[in-house]
């Protein structure tokens, strides 16, 4: 069946299909263009190529089990999605999260925001021909992901922020890797500024291209860096502060014209603020209690002795490893039962521990929030990431809806490119940071 655009097209115009898989686009996203020469008369956007049924799947998963699915929404900053979901649940369950867990959450979220902005701008610059910027930014991102990897064990889909706290304490030597990451990112940002800020080619392709007015941006429900590039001051971290953001010192950078260059510039300045936030929160986080690795016997020795009877001594293991996290739990997870996986020491060694473990995971007895619906949102890389959860009192959400910032931003894409040239599509699309995972869910 012909689309609306094809039906209404002028007979003398040319129809051109762009995407869903196109070398100049990072993401599966299709645009039908009606062209008169190089000029775009009309455009029609088609999305949904990455639809995975996230919301339907969540209705069939327990509250605990659906957390990994939230990683895969905005896969460049998974921790912020985790946080949005975990905090929506905490709002519903009325939990208090330990101070240290909150500090770690801020640290992880700002690292994720940095990697999100770096990815977006790196790809945008590459599509405009500045390939070195892409490589520099990917380099900086690796340093940030080092910190994340040391702590969570994985680079992208971390499932690290849990309902009630975080999964593990910060890895050994995190302070050093955070310091390196900040230093390297600052260096890259300085280089990129030198390469792009006054670059004639970059300016020609981004200045006054894809311009959005603040009124239209609000009418489209834009949030995040894209909204702020039009000059509207709305940041969830400032407007509805969560975690420790009301106690930390940071600014909200604003743009003036709402064009591609402003979206680039707002993201660049936001990264500087994120680095400031990381420095502040890293100074706040106290060093952990004396670590447990020093005392205890070697694991191999424990196994050998354990053949006859359970050794009485402590085993020398990382305190974050399953089976030795009981001492870490009070610092990083809420004490309110039963929203946290019982520590494995208890599960493996005591009858009561085993029972509580089964009760947590068995059908119908895990996390059961009271009846009602809740909306909670956090500031993601792209804007307001909101979770709307309807609970019917069972252990599975009756309905879970994600407010994806990308969805609202991309809805305006047709109007942004209308009347422009075909070549303007790529920088405009790049500056909007389309993430298929959260757009199509």
């Amino acid at each position: 069946m012909a689309s609306r655009l094809e039906k209404n097209a002028r007979p003398d115009s040319m129809l051109l299909n762009m995407g869903p898989s196109h070398p100049a686009m990072h993401g599966t996203f299709r645009i039908m263009l009606e062209l008169e020469g190089e000029r775009i008369l009309n455009a029609e956007v088609e999305i949904g190529f990455l639809h995975r049924g996230f919301e339907k799947t969540c209705e069939n998963r327990t509250y605990f089990n659906l957390l990994p699915y939230t990683d895969r929404l905005n896969y460049v900053s998974p921790q912020i999605n985790n946080l949005g979901y975990a905090m929506a649940m905490e709002k519903m369950l009325g939990l208090t999260v330990p101070e240290r867990a909150q500090q770690i959450r801020v640290l992880m979220c700002e690292l994720s925001r940095l990697s999100d902005h770096l990815t977006c701008l790196g790809a945008m610059a590459m599509e405009n021909g500045a390939f070195s910027v892409f490589l520099y930014m990917m380099k900086a991102r690796e340093f940030l992901w080092d910190v994340i990897e040391f702590t969570t064990g994985s680079r992208m889909t971390t499932s690290y922020i849990r309902i009630g706290g975080v999964r593990a304490d910060l890895g050994a030597g995190w302070r050093g890797s955070v310091k390196t990451a900040i230093l390297e990112t600052r260096r890259v940002l300085k280089d990129v500024r030198g390469l792009l800020d006054a670059n004639r080619i970059f300016l020609n392709r981004t200045r006054d291209v894809g311009t959005m007015s603040p009124e239209d941006a609000l009418s489209y429900g834009w949030t995040g860096p894209c909204l702020r590039s039009t000059g509207v001051n709305y940041d969830v971290r400032k407007a509805q502060p969560y975690l420790l953001y009301d106690r930390l010192d940071f600014e909200v950078p604003l743009g003036e014209r709402g064009d591609n260059y402003d979206r680039y510039s707002v993201r660049m300045r936001e990264m500087e603020q994120s680095l400031r936030l990381i420095e502040q929160v890293a100074a706040l986080i106290p060093d952990a209690a004396p670590r447990l690795e020093a005392d205890g016997i070697e694991p191999a020795e424990a196994v050998r002795r354990g053949r006859t009877r359970r050794p009485a001594q402590r085993i020398r293991l990382s305190p974050n490893l399953e089976g030795s996290e009981k001492d870490v739990y009070p610092r990083i997870l809420t004490a309110d039962a039963p929203v946290v996986v019982p520590p494995k020491e208890d599960t493996y060694t005591t009858m009561e521990g085993l029972i509580s473990h089964f009760l947590f995971f068995m059908n119908g007895t895990g996390i059961r929030p009271p009846k009602g619906d809740v909306y909670f949102s956090v500031e993601g890389g792209n804007g307001e990431v909101g979770f709307y959860i309807v609970s019917d009192g069972t252990d599975r959400p009756y309905r879970l809806h994600l407010r994806a910032p990308c969805f609202h931003i991309l809805a305006a894409f047709e109007t942004l490119i209308k009347g422009r040239f075909v070549a303007d599509i790529v920088p405009t699309f790049g500056s909007m940071n389309m993430i298929g995972g959260e757009l199509d869910r």
């Binding site: 609000l218 009602g372 909306y375 909101g386 309905r399 809806h401 969805f407």
Partner: protein, 159 residues
């Protein structure tokens, strides 16, 4: 204006259209009659309420009850820094509601999504068709009557 005063004022002004007011987990929720939705929303969008942003629009399928579908709108006021949730119940046999495309531009895609996922109709929507699913998809996947992991027939390839 105080948050509670504001709700009181809305309730007195639109007394006939506002069915109830509730606060769940600190979120303010107004349940509204289907017929009065558009007028109420267009008033809420303007001063003095100034809910200028349509944050979110979605639907919930309460399969067991008679008023099966419930539209959920989240509004945000930038000047007052407050959120408001509006709910509208739709009957199972005729789930249609006025479109808000004239008020907010993102309502276009959001309503297409609600139509795609739940089969809810929107009166006055300029181009109501599927958005996330493809043409030729059978049924509406987020309805409770749609089985999880249901298989779909193959559709002919597009040219």
């Amino acid at each position: 204006m105080d948050k509670e005063d504001l709700i009181d004022e809305i309730r007195t002004r639109f007394g006939a259209d506002v069915e109830s007011y509730a606060e769940t987990f600190g979120d303010q929720t107004l349940a509204v009659r289907r017929e009065g939705l558009r007028a109420l929303m267009s008033a809420l969008r303007a001063a003095p309420y100034d809910y200028a942003v349509l944050l979110d629009l979605t639907c919930v399928d309460y399969a067991a009850v008679e008023s099966r579908f419930e539209m959920v709108y989240h509004l945000y006021s930038l000047s007052g820094n407050r959120r408001l949730r509006i709910k509208v119940s739709l009957p199972a046999e005729n789930p249609v509601v006025d479109s808000l495309t004239g008020l907010w531009k993102n309502a276009d895609w959001l309503e297409r999504e609600a139509f795609d996922m739940f089969g809810v109709g929107f009166i006055g929507h300029p181009d109501l068709r599927r958005i996330l699913m493809y043409e030729g998809f059978e049924g509406h996947p987020l309805r409770k009557s749609y089985p999880w992991r249901k298989e779909q027939p193959l559709v002919p390839m597009k040219d």
